[in-house]
């Protein structure tokens, strides 16, 4: 049990009569890099939403760092250190990039004492780590897709997450950009952040993951090291289409 940061235990989620997650159990070690694959509609994003609190599960429990967070609102989970990105980036479009990053700084990191904290400078330094230093005062409307993805990452980093849940952060990026994002994400991992990554780009999954979980029809179908998973006949049949 020791070292498990996240404990998903028999989580079920229904939308009307449709069962999106059926008793999914999963645990993530502290510091681990976990890849999640599976066909569209297999429940990956629903699982992520249940972990982050955007959705409340209908059954089962979710434990984070030894605390049962199943009924916690999303903002409380964020304050505990669970950060996420969105499949389609959701920037705060009326704000500059620096202001985007300032929101989590004000509401999570410096929530206790805002006085004396230079939120603006800190926001800029986080943006600089993502290579967005020169765009700190730009509006989000002018950003390219890859920069929007980086902004999402910057915003999650401002939470100082212990668990980072990424939902297809590389979708729609060019091959060079995928490598660039991978470097950033692996860098975060080296800083000690536990990362779960949903991704369809197998090259990225293989390079990133220490362990891969394959989901299908609301269940965990396979769980193991990346090279075992790609050899798994069921995974090949259902997901890889070999």
């Amino acid at each position: 049990m020791t070292g498990d940061l996240l404990e998903v235990d028999a989580v079920t989620k229904r939308f009307g009569g449709y069962v999106a997650l059926s008793e999914v159990s999963l645990s993530v070690r502290s510091g681990e890099r976990l890849g999640i694959i599976g066909p569209n509609g297999s429940g990956k994003t629903t699982l992520l939403n249940c972990i982050c609190g955007s959705l409340h599960s209908d059954g089962g429990s979710i434990g984070f760092d030894g605390v049962d967070v199943t009924r916690f609102a999303a903002y409380r989970r964020a304050r505990m250190g669970i950060a996420r990105s969105f499949q389609v980036p959701r920037p705060f479009s009326s704000m500059t990039l620096a202001e985007n990053v300032a929101v989590p700084l004000e509401y999570v990191t410096h929530r206790q004492s805002l006085h004396g904290a230079d939120v603006s400078a800190e926001a800029r330094s986080i943006l600089a780590q993502m290579g967005l230093a020169d765009k700190a005062d730009a509006q989000t409307g002018s950003l390219t897709q890859v920069d929007l993805r980086k902004l999402e990452l910057a915003r999650t980093m401002a939470v100082r997450p212990r668990l980072l849940v990424l939902d297809e952060v590389m979708a729609g990026l060019s091959s060079v950009e995928v490598d660039e994002m991978l470097e950033i994400i692996l860098g975060l991992s080296r800083q000690g952040v536990t990362i779960m990554m949903i991704e369809h780009i197998m090259r990225a999954i293989m390079r990133f993951s220490e362990r891969v979980v394959c989901m299908d029809a609301g269940r965990v179908m396979a769980d193991g090291p990346p090279d075992h998973i790609v050899q798994d006949p069921d995974v090949q049949r259902i997901y890889l289409g070999v």
């Binding site: 964020a78 705060f92 999650t156």
Partner: protein, 325 residues
């Protein structure tokens, strides 16, 4: 019209506070200098719209939750005052405080019921609350029902020539209070949180913004300020009846003024209220009181189509500082 030195979006509280105090001093001086009683009548209406528009903007502008029922909050404040006068002959200060509490609670209650859902449900509920409140008042004999109620103005206090002039100064104070609150919310992290909610509620929640709490807070403050704007209304008019208190004009003005002035900053509703409030007074006096709602409607359509960011947005675009707030 009243001079407003605090128009330009000055940074820093010092200049702002100086502006606010100057405005109050000017308002008091005017009651000693100006002879025409109509001036205070018109000035009161404009100031009342500053409070209403500012109140609407706290929830509608900053957080993006549109309240169509401002008229109900305004009238609820007014009728709270009537009930207090009838029951206890309560002084104006008590009327103001209790009205703010009643309509603040109204805002909180509607919020608690609907703000968990998407924004449109809140808006629908605010339309419903207007109908509910009006029906209650129409059938509540104690406050006059459909006949209305006559409220006698107390004698003017020593310093003031007339009671209307006292109400003018009090409404100036309330306008300052409303703008100070709005500005505080705007530049504090509450304001940033509300803007994050308007941009993407789910993203806001995911980075630690307690969205429901913030929305409830904004709905409560907004409701309380709308009620406080309505509380002196019976004494100001000497008479109140449901049709005028629940007039569509309040609901439309409360959202048209911020939208035309610009919703991004506290200055927007103030500019909108001063401009439209004055235009409405001029139209009412020179043409007809029915026409002023038409003028308001046409201006609203024109701005929504041509300048959705309002006068503030236009000014910013013209001065070329697109990024400045």
């Amino acid at each position: 019209m009243v001079e407003r030195p605090a128009h330009c979006a000055v940074k820093g509280w010092n200049r702002f506070v100086v502006g606010a105090i100057a405005m109050l001093v000017v308002a008091v001086l005017l009651t000693r200098v100006v002879g025409n009683e109509y001036f205070f009548f018109a000035g009161y209406v404009v100031l009342q719209f500053i409070v209403l528009a500012t109140a609407w903007n706290i929830l509608g502008g900053y957080a993006g939750y549109v309240n169509f029922g401002s008229g109900a909050f305004f009238a609820a404040g007014a009728y709270t005052a009537v009930a207090l006068i009838k029951a206890f002959a309560a002084p104006l200060l008590v009327q103001l405080v209790v009205a703010a509490m009643v309509t603040g609670l109204m805002g909180f209650a509607i919020g608690a019921m609907t703000l968990r859902l998407r924004g449109i449900f809140f808006s629908i509920a605010t339309v419903a609350i207007a109908v509910i409140c009006e029906t209650i008042v129409l059938n509540w004999d104690f406050v006059g029902g459909a006949r209305g109620a006559t409220v006698l103005q107390p004698p003017a206090p020593a310093f003031f020539v007339s009671y209307a002039r006292l109400l003018f100064v009090i409404m100036t104070l309330l306008a300052i209070l409303a703008v100070v609150l709005a500005r505080y919310i705007e530049i504090s992290r509450i304001g940033r949180g509300l803007r994050a909610i308007r941009d993407s509620e789910e993203a806001a929640e995911s980075v630690g913004v307690p969205t429901l709490k913030l929305k409830l807070f904004a709905a409560t403050v907004s409701g309380a300020l709308m009620g406080i704007a309505g509380a002196p209304f019976p004494l100001y008019m000497n008479f109140i009846e449901p049709n005028s208190a629940f007039s569509l004009n309040y609901a439309v003005s409360a959202l048209a003024m911020p939208i035309i002035g610009g919703t991004a900053s506290w200055a927007g509703p103030v500019i909108g209220a001063v401009l439209l409030g004055s235009v409405q007074q001029i139209v009412t006096v020179t043409m007809s009181s029915e026409l002023n709602v038409l003028v308001l409607g046409l201006l609203l359509v024109a701005f929504v189509v041509a300048a959705p960011e309002g006068i503030l947005g236009l000014a910013r675009r013209l001065s070329g500082k697109a990024g400045a707030r």
